[in-house]
């Protein structure tokens, strides 16, 4: 136990100020001020991989590390769409994941936000639209509020994009 405490003391607090990012764009729906207010302070996210190469997942994971510490913004990841406020969707939507993505969207209570993470989620990326196995970009399947570009986007881009979705501005 002592060694754990010593290690924690040695590392100290490494959490940083969040850097700037312009890798995202707000799309579609205008958010109601009331929704924004309701989410302020606490937002539960359900991450859905709809066909990613898992690179985007690594960077979503990184938002939880001590440098970025996304939880300090009141944002946390949850195990079920039933108590999620936001879906974070990665990947081009594969034909084999389309139904699961739609069901997850339907299982998420209103009001809900959708953030599409990565070039694949934005426009099918390197896998392409003219592909028998790809149903489309995320916005072809479910309504999307914010798109975050990058292959994969950095943790800073992801957190900035999520915050933009909550605040309703790009």
């Amino acid at each position: 136990m002592l060694r754990i405490l010593r290690q924690i003391a040695r590392v100290g607090t490494i959490t940083e100020e969040l850097g700037p990012s312009d890798a995202f764009e707000q799309t579609g729906r205008e958010l109601e001020a009331a929704i924004r207010k309701r989410f302020a302070g606490s937002l539960a996210i359900r991450a859905v991989d709809a066909g990613s190469c898992n690179g985007c997942e690594l960077e979503i994971h990184a938002t939880n590390n001590a440098y970025y510490d996304i939880e300090r913004f009141g944002v946390h990841f949850t195990a079920s769409p039933r108590f999620a406020d936001m879906l974070l969707v990665t990947g081009p939507v594969s034909v084999n994941m389309k139904t699961a993505l739609e069901m997850t969207f339907d299982a998420t209570p209103d009001p809900k936000l959708v953030v599409a993470i990565g070039d694949c989620a934005a426009n099918c990326g390197v896998f392409g639209r003219d592909n028998y196995a790809i149903a489309g970009a995320v916005s072809d399947i479910i309504p999307v509020d914010v798109v975050i570009h990058g292959c994969p986007p950095t943790p800073t881009d992801i957190i900035r994009g999520i915050l933009a979705a909550i605040e309703g501005r790009a």
Partner: protein, 536 residues
Amino acid sequence: MRHLANTWFAERLGDRGIRTTYLEDHHPAHMPCLEIIRHDWLHAAEEARRLEMRLVAVWAAEAGRHDQDQGRKHGLYAYMAFAHPEHRHALLRTPLAADHPVLPSIAGEYIAASRMERHMTDMFGITIEGSPDARAWIRHEHWPAEAHPLRGNFDARTPLPANPDGGDYPYVQSTSHGVYEIPVGPVHAGIIEPGHFRFLAVGEQILNMEERLGYVHKGIERAMQGRDATGGAKLAARISGDSAIAHAWAFSQACEYAADIEPPRRASFIRGILCERERIANHIGDIGAICNDAAFAFMHMQMQRLREDMARLHQELFGHRLLFDTIVPGGVSVDPDAAQLARLKAQTGAIAAEVERLRSIYADHPSIQERVIGSGTVSIDDARDIGLLGFAGRASGDYPDERIEEAYPPYDEFDVGIARGRLGDVATRVWVRFEEIADSARLIAEMIEGMPEGAIRAAWQAPEPGVSGFAAIEGWRGEIAAWVRFGEAGRIDRYFVRDPSVINWLGLELAVREVPVPDFPLNNKSFNCSYSGNDL
């Protein structure tokens, strides 16, 4: 890059009366491709088994340019590849009729062939005779009946329409009293890839866990067709993002063999450094995640911190946190200078030292040790049976490592240490990963010290149409086997790749029998197989 032809397997087959024809348009010669008649397909697999060769992969391809030029009338070929620790890789191929292709199953000899054979049925409509499992695999129930995406006449450019009458997937079931089912996925509870696990459990114990994968099938094999080598490498890096280096390397090396191009020594050293960095980063991340699944969050936070440090230096030195697009056909795209290499070496050493410190905390922490020791055992016999790869194989007492067996550059100049595990449980898989972090750090230091001067990229020159190449690269999960064939104008006309996950997913199924359900997550993390790499 002149290699002696490897005739060992051809001679052994000859002793058994199996005639082989050496294919001149396949490279490299030390991993030859031999043509046999279809009648000998199963015999050849039996012989490989008798010779204690490991099954590398089974796949199919439509006939290429050469085959048409030479007036061969077959439309389709089946391939299988085996590896022997001393005598290395050999490929066999046999022609199949284009109209009603039929092939005998080799799953009786090599059970790991089964899912790959199912993949061949799904993609090409090949009938596998005597298959122990005739269910579709990548083709999900909603696919239209006659869709075989890798056949030339298939419309690959429009998304598959849904077929509502596909029925349900027949999972393994039990009618025993007291056995209940737990369906999990495809959308999982964590931030992970999608797939379905069907547990049959009694009380707390798992009786059987069955995987249903294919959810992230992105048509990668088809999307490779028509790309040039540069475009192909870009896609290869995204087959499984956590193995971007290993996959891009396997792809590039298969292309380089086919084109008879040798990357400069400096490029090989840089590739080696990047690949070992990728190995360290993933092992670090997974050890943290395993501990997290046993509620040892401290270790997780520490490991994620180290992984982030690595990603940041990658961004700075190589322009990408996960090292995407740094390996290109012919070499590498980035050339770190001496000062940058010194930083890379210093950071690698510092991280390895931190990991050692954390390792002693992990080893002394009873609450995590209780969970990992003895959990999820894969015996050596089972490991050999399925050909378990990489650190998972090494944890069970089977030690295939292409850095040693294939010894491709730069590993021909270095001694790779093998962590010789035996018990095959979660604790040993973690132990092997700790050992590999230390060994990779040592290798990186040696590679940086011995870094040759010179170019980082040989000019790419596509091979003649019809020429194929094969490569086996030891990524952090284990061997990635890649086979590429070129068509007209330097365009790829077929790419087959077998991610180690295709084999190691079977290891997870074996490991979790009789494991309590709550220990499944840490077992799963201890393998951390790729879904995307499996589903393609």
